[in-house]
Structures are given as C-alpha cells and as structure tokens.
Amino acid sequence: MSGLESLYQELILDHAKNRRGFGLTEPGARSATVHQRNPICGDEITLRVELSDEGDRVASVTWEGAGCSISQSSASMLVALLQEDGGDNGMPTADADALIAQFREALRSRGKIPLDEETFGDAAALSGVSKYTARVKCAMLAWVALEEGLRQA
C-alpha cells in the first residue's frame, strides 16, 4: 500500500461520502453546540453533543461542516464509534474524553503509535494520518469540537 493509499483507505473515502451523524438535530435540554475551524485550510465543523439526563453519558452527537475527506470522515467515524461503543445508553463522558486524548496522542506520534481497531473501530483507519503532520489537524477537528462540547454541556 503506497503512502497515499494508506492515508486514503477505502473506509475513509466511504465515510467521507456517507457521513454518519451529518445534519444537526434540534438542541435538547443538555446539549452544547461548538464551532471549530482550521484557519489554515478553511475546514469547519459545527458539532452538537447531547448528554444523558444525568449528564454523565453522551446521548448523541450530530454535526455539519465542510472540508477535506480526512476531516469529514474523521467526524463520521467519531459518531460511529460513539454509537457502537456507547450502546443504547450512550458512552460515559469520561470514556469519551479518554478516547479523545488517546486519539490525539496517536495522531501526534508521527506514525509511532497506531490506533487499534479494537478501541477505535473504523477510526483506526486514520492511523496513516499521523505521518502527515499537516493533516493531523484535519483529523482532529471533530474530536476537538467534541472535547469542547463535553466541557460546555
């Protein structure tokens, strides 16, 4: 697999086309809406996170935005991960925060720390991004937005 093909795996291009969680839902009682922007390339995202009534779980994440296939698929994969790992009750916010931290560490590792599929699901396909320092911000965009949203909600 060439460098380019490991960066743009089919899974990534699929997510970029069929974006999970795309389209904002109506804001709920315990929701926060965050706008993030990458000033370098103009990519942007508006992400809305809704917490469970107790405020300790991620009930739903939806988003809108425009950008490169890395940023779009990364947002889509994030939603997929939350849905799959969170099950019906939603993922505990503490777990989500931990995942974001781990994701950041791997992406900043310049290829040294891979994202394992067990933990990150489809998002593991983003491992290749960490070798492209200029693209790390693209992949982080939605995750940073969620981090901020969890803080605010």
């Binding site: 743009y8 390339c41 103009g42 296939s69 890395i70």
Partner: protein, 420 residues
C-alpha cells in the same frame, strides 16, 4: 531571432530542484507562495556573513565600512531593478510590513478622517486588505471595493463610479495571487489621479515575472517581497515617490532613523532611513540584490516568453480535464503562469495531497484571499504557480497528476476501478 530561453541552465542554479519526493522528482509549482533561491543568492549571503559582517552605518572600522558599502550597493541594485532611485527604496521585512507601514503612517499622520474613502479590490490578498480595514476602523474612513467580474477581471465601470472625491487611497494588486491576471494599472492610476487619491500597488506577484518601472507606472507607492523573487526571507521593499515618502511620518521608530534624540523627543532622518528603524536585515539585502542580479543576468524577454508558454499550457491543460473549474479564466488580459482551480467533488486539500504523492507541490487553501474565494462560492482552491525555472514537462507532469484526482477519490465518470 531570439534564442529560446535556456531553462535547464536556470534550473541548474537551484539546489532544491534536485529533491525527490517519494521517489518522484520534485515539481515545484508553489512559487507564488514562496520562491526557491538560486545558489548565487545563498552564496552572496554566506559570503557577506563570512567576510564582511558587522554593523552598518556605524563605526569607523574596516568591516563596518565594507558592510555599509555592500548594504547600500544592494539598495542601488534593487532600486534599479524597479526603475527607481535608491533614495526612494525603503527596506522592509516584506510586503506585508510595507503595506502596514503605509497604512499605519497615513493613520499617524491624520491623513484620513470620517467621510473619507479607501478603495481596494475584491481580489485582494489579506495583506492589502486588513491594514486598510484597520485604518478605516481607526479613522472613521469607509473601506470600499472594486468588484471582480466572473472571469476574474476588475469591474472598471464600478471602479469609475467608486473612485470619487471622497477617495483618499486606492490600493490594488498588480497581479492577483489567485487569478494571475495583470490588472490595468494605468487606468486605475488615471481614475485615482483625477480625484487626487494616493495609489498603492501590491507588486508581490508581478515583481518576479514582469519588467517593472515603478516611477513610470504612475502609482505613488509600491511594495514587494524578497522571498517571492528568489531572494531571502525577511526582506522586501517599499518604493515611493520622493514627495510622497517625504510626506509620511515614521511608522516604527528606534535606532538609525534619527538625527537628535532627547529624553522627550526625537527628530527623524529623511527617507528612506526615516522608515528603517533598528538594525536592518543587512545580509538579506545583500541576498536580495544577488537575486535581482541573478534574474537580470538572464535574457529576460526570452524568459518572459518561456513563462508565457507555460501559462498557456497550464491553462489549456486544466481546461481540458473533466470537472475542473478555473478561477479567473480569461484571454482578455495579460497573465502570469499561475492558475487556481477547484476540482468538482474533491476538496482542495485532498487534491494537494494526491499531487504531492506524485512529487508535485502546489498550494491549497484560500491563499490569503478569503473574500475572493467567497465571491466564487468556494472556501478553498488549488493553485499551481510557475517560475522562471519551470519546464513544460513539469506542467505536463502536473496535468497528468490532476487528471488522476477524481478517479482516485471515486468521483465523476470513471470513478470506480481507479483504485482497484
């Protein structure tokens, strides 16, 4: 008969052009962002630093005298390159600094007030836009803009209406860094002069590609950057007519621009020193002089003809690829070999990454021209920009790579199978 331009000889002067990217020879089509430096520039700077380096305009020692001479000779050389006198050439750290100097100085001088107007274009680089926004905000002046037509040309009818007796400043790019179109300087100068407005020319993109005679152009002030014209970073120039520079107070202050200083006040030297506060980028001035000397050593008409061939090949080639939309696609104006475009269904960033995997370096994003991109309904585009060392084969490599983009990303007609 003119001999064709010897592009291989020019290339041989650039060490970086030997780079390989992922096994592909580097095709550097990002000269519009920053240019590469020929060996002569690297050598001139190093030679200065190894043999003459010391503080200029100060001190009686031998090195200082040598350094001062090289520094002031550099001013003469660069001034000549744009048809000017050395006293009219102010060193700046770059074009952005030059434009801020002009806008800031006009502000400090109280030359603008409520009701006055500043006119720019819709095709402005942020460097020739935001300083005027700030000046307008500080003085109560109004910032207006000349619209860009669909084909990238400035709307001169609108310009004629906009530029009126309230207009105090008209600032515009010689060549837009997105559209590549040479703007009608003479017409804008005529409109501006008729109402007594000061004209400010952003010559960043023209200086590397067109013969400049700034005094003859009719504008009052002009700026350009060294790093875009095969010179070092950290140096650029502001050119101004004598009487215009004389009328401007300093923007920044400090050492080397004064005559008498007491604890309470300072008196300033005449231009250009008045605008050159602090230790100047001395070795960079020497390097920039080497750059324009390197350029001038070539058969420049032949080089321009070569670049014109590149321009046509670039534009025609892109036009013939499916799903490509060109920004500023017109034959009605002179152009430089720089072309921005969007690829249907593929984000500019992804296009850039794909081209990079073929060794082709282009710029992606808004190129510091967000308003212009917005005008075309885009947030980002891809820009290929050539230089004197670019070959036709490189343009072909680029075009070939661009043809593969939509297939790779699974967009458009032959989307499937491309990655099989």
């Amino acid at each position: 008969m003119t001999l064709p331009f010897d592009v291989d000889a020019a290339r041989a002067d650039f060490p970086i052009l030997e780079t390989e990217i992922d096994g592909h020879p580097l095709v550097y089509l990002d000269s519009g962002a920053t240019s590469q430096k020929p060996r002569a520039v690297l050598d001139a700077e190093r030679d200065f630093l190894e043999h003459a380096n010391s503080a200029v305009h100060r001190g009686a020692h031998t090195l200082a005298a040598e350094a001062t001479e090289l520094f002031e000779d550099a001013r003469v050389t660069v001034a000549e390159f744009v048809g000017a006198e050395p006293e009219q050439l102010v060193w700046t750290s770059g074009a952005t600094a030059g434009l801020n100097l002009v806008a800031g100085s006009l502000g400090y001088a109280g030359r603008l007030r409520e009701g006055d107007e500043i006119v720019v274009t819709e095709a402005e680089h942020h460097a020739n836009l935001i300083p005027w926004q700030e000046l307008a905000a500080r003085t109560g002046a109004r910032l207006r803009h000349i619209p860009v037509l669909d084909d990238g040309m400035l709307d001169l009818h609108a310009a004629a209406d906009l530029i009126g007796e309230r207009t105090k400043v008209v600032a515009f790019p010689h060549v837009s860094n997105v559209l590549g179109i040479v703007n009608p300087v003479a017409k804008l100068v005529t409109l501006s002069r008729a109402v007594g407005a000061l004209t400010v020319l952003d010559a960043c993109q023209s200086a590397p590609h067109l013969a400049l005679d700034l005094p003859a152009s009719g504008v009052d002030l002009a700026v350009f950057s060294g790093h875009k014209i095969h010179g070092p970073y950290g140096i650029g120039a502001l050119w101004g007519r004598d009487e215009v520079l004389e009328g401007l107070p300093p923007f920044t202050t400090g050492g080397s621009m004064i005559t008498t200083v007491t604890l309470d006040r300072a008196e300033y030297l005449p231009p250009p020193q008045r605008f050159e506060a602090g230790t100047q980028p001395v070795s960079q001035a020497v390097g920039l002089a080497a750059a324009v000397r390197w350029l001038s050593a070539h058969d420049l008409p032949a080089a321009r003809a070569h670049e014109a061939v590149l321009e046509r090949r670039l534009r025609d080639g892109l036009r013939s690829i499916d799903g490509i939309r060109l920004l500023g696609d017109t034959d009605a104006a002179e152009r430089i070999a720089l072309q921005a475009f969007a690829v249907d269904g593929v984000h500019a960033h992804d296009v850039g990454q794909f081209l990079d995997s073929r060794g082709v370096a282009v710029r992606v994003g808004h190129h510091c021209a967000q308003p212009l991109h917005r005008r075309y309904g885009l947030t980002a585009s891809v820009r290929a920009s050539a230089a004197i060392h670019t070959t036709e084969e490189e343009i072909d490599t680029f075009l070939d790579a661009v043809s593969g983009v939509r297939g790779f990303f699974g967009v458009g007609a032959n989307s499937t199978g491309a990655r099989a």
